[in-house]
């Protein structure tokens, strides 16, 4: 579905990484780890067309990312639910409308009704539904971001540190949601530092662990 082949990326200076390859097979569950600043977020951005690789090829749903039109990029993003490390909300809108935004921009507003309530209950934000993102705690924002990422029931879910600010119990709860979605056939890629989270996932599902370090990618990492 998403394929990076010998990809390099640089923000202008030296390459952050080079000759890096990654495949997201349909239905797979993968973790991406590595030290802070190694390029995890950057790599994820390549996967949803937010950045274009400096060299190498990125294939998104069978299409070369470099040749996508702006409308193609929009359509591609509708198939990928993303939890951004910095959340990215519309600060003037209440939580419900933020979470439903992906449905709204793709003209599927009618699907929001029941889904939204269930989803907010699952991530424990029913009470905060009418609050705006700046009024939420860091962990609440992350939970909202996860809800927004999965509301359209996308083929691929990419989560950048989705549990960075939440307690262990909530982390497990959020991960369980992602595992459930994976069982329903969704492809999941999670960037995290949290080894406990990876261990917990591995006890429930077949999960592959990738590590990016010093500009190289290790696959099948054992903890």
């Amino acid at each position: 579905m998403i394929e990076l082949d010998n990809v390099a990326y640089s923000y202008g200076g030296d390459s952050l990484f080079a000759d890096l390859s990654l495949q997201l097979q349909p239905g797979s569950f993968q973790f991406l780890t590595g030290p802070s600043g190694a390029g995890k977020t950057t790599l994820l951005k390549l996967c949803y067309g937010d950045l274009l690789a400096t060299s190498g090829s990125v294939t998104l749903f069978g299409k070369d990312a470099a040749t996508l039109t702006r409308d193609d990029v929009a359509m591609t993003r509708r198939r990928i639910g993303v939890v951004h490390q910095d959340c990215q909300f519309l600060d003037h809108l209440p939580l419900t409308e933020n979470v439903a935004l992906p449905l709204q921009v793709s003209g599927r507003t009618h699907e929001a009704e029941g889904n939204l309530t269930d989803l907010l209950a699952w991530v424990g934000l029913s009470r905060q539904a009418d609050q705006t993102p700046p009024q939420l705690s860091g962990g609440e924002r992350q939970r909202a971001a996860l809800a927004r990422a999965v509301i359209t029931s996308p083929d691929v879910i990419i989560a950048d540190e989705p549990t960075g600010n939440v307690d262990w119990e909530m982390s497990q709860r959020l991960l369980t949601l992602l595992i459930e979605l994976n069982r329903m056939g969704k492809t999941v890629l999670i960037a995290t530092h949290d080894l406990n989270l990876i261990r917990f996932a591995k006890s429930q599902v077949v999960a592959n662990v990738l590590r990016i370090k010093g500009g190289r990618m290790e696959t099948g990492v054992t903890l």
Partner: protein, 295 residues
């Protein structure tokens, strides 16, 4: 982008872009002020056009020949003058006015009881011109030789430069309208651009969740189109009121003639939809250009 869909609007797309009170008020004000000016430019064009047409028609119509001669010679001179006029190129017809017609002409000045009989009035000959008219100085020379008592009074001729001026003024009015339209487009573009850059983060979030450029642009386009339309509506209404309150006069004077007549009053009603259309295209161009330049 369908206009109808635009007017109906998408509540969610509209809400996604936060309200910007300041640019909103500026846009409404600008559109209103420009519409107000447009009403006057339009009134100027319409009125000067009407004036030019009327003057031109009067000019084309007639001039008069006045014959003052000792009593016994009047008839002979009239006959001679008519003969000269018959053979003058550019003269369609010529006839002497009857006593009643002369009385009617003088009535406004001297009242109905004027004893025409006891006055020695000059005999008037009305000349109706054809095409571009006759050569006035040539005719004068011939009349001087053959009809010594004749004075050619081509009184409407002095209006020729005025007609030119009126026609020019009408053109200037139209140019002013075009400039006003251009200024509205420019100002709306600036306002839209400032709204777009103020909302860069909103646009980024919408792009990230899969919004297409057209969807994002629509929220801005709708906003500015409605604002410009509403502002122009107010400005047009005030402008029309001002024109309607202009002192009225039937003298055909230029200043009192500034205004609309009959169905002409419908013409300014085109201003608000035109302003909205200008805003629509200006904002859409600005939005799509800005969006394309962003990641």
């Amino acid at each position: 982008m369908q206009l109808w869909a635009l007017l109906q609007g998408d509540r969610h797309a509209d809400r996604a872009v936060p309200p910007t009170g300041f640019t909103a008020r500026l846009t409404v004000f600008t559109a209103g002020a420009m519409a107000f000016l447009a009403v006057f430019a339009l009134a100027l064009s319409v009125a000067t056009g009407r004036l030019a047409d009327r003057w031109a028609a009067e000019l084309a119509q007639t001039s008069t020949l006045r014959i003052s001669a000792p009593v016994g010679e009047v008839d002979a001179q009239v006959t001679a003058a008519l003969r000269v006029l018959e053979t003058t190129p550019g003269v369609g017809s010529a006839r002497s006015l009857t006593e009643e017609e002369e009385r009617a002409l003088l009535e406004p000045w001297f009242g109905p009881d004027l004893p025409v009989d006891s006055l020695r009035l000059p005999q008037l000959i009305e000349i109706v011109e054809t095409g571009d008219g006759y050569d006035a100085s040539g005719l004068r020379a011939r009349l001087q030789a053959e009809v010594p008592g004749a004075v050619l009074d081509d009184h409407t001729r002095w209006r020729a430069p005025l007609i030119d001026a009126a026609t020019r003024l009408r053109t200037l009015g139209w140019i002013a309208l075009l400039l006003i339209g251009g200024a509205v487009a420019a100002m709306i573009t600036l306002a839209a651009q400032s709204a777009l850059s103020a909302n860069a983060q909103v646009i980024r979030v919408m792009r990230l969740v899969g919004a297409r450029d057209a969807y994002i642009a629509r929220a801005f386009v709708r906003r500015f189109t409605l604002r410009a339309g509403a502002g122009a509506l107010i400005g047009t209404a005030l402008g029309l009121l001002a024109v309607a309150l202009m002192p009225d006069g039937d003298t055909g004077g230029f200043l009192t003639g500034l205004g609309f007549s009959g169905t002409g009053w419908l013409l300014p009603l085109l201003i608000p939809p035109l302003a909205a259309a200008v805003a629509f295209f200006a904002t859409r161009a600005a939005a799509l250009r800005t969006l394309r330049s962003q990641a």
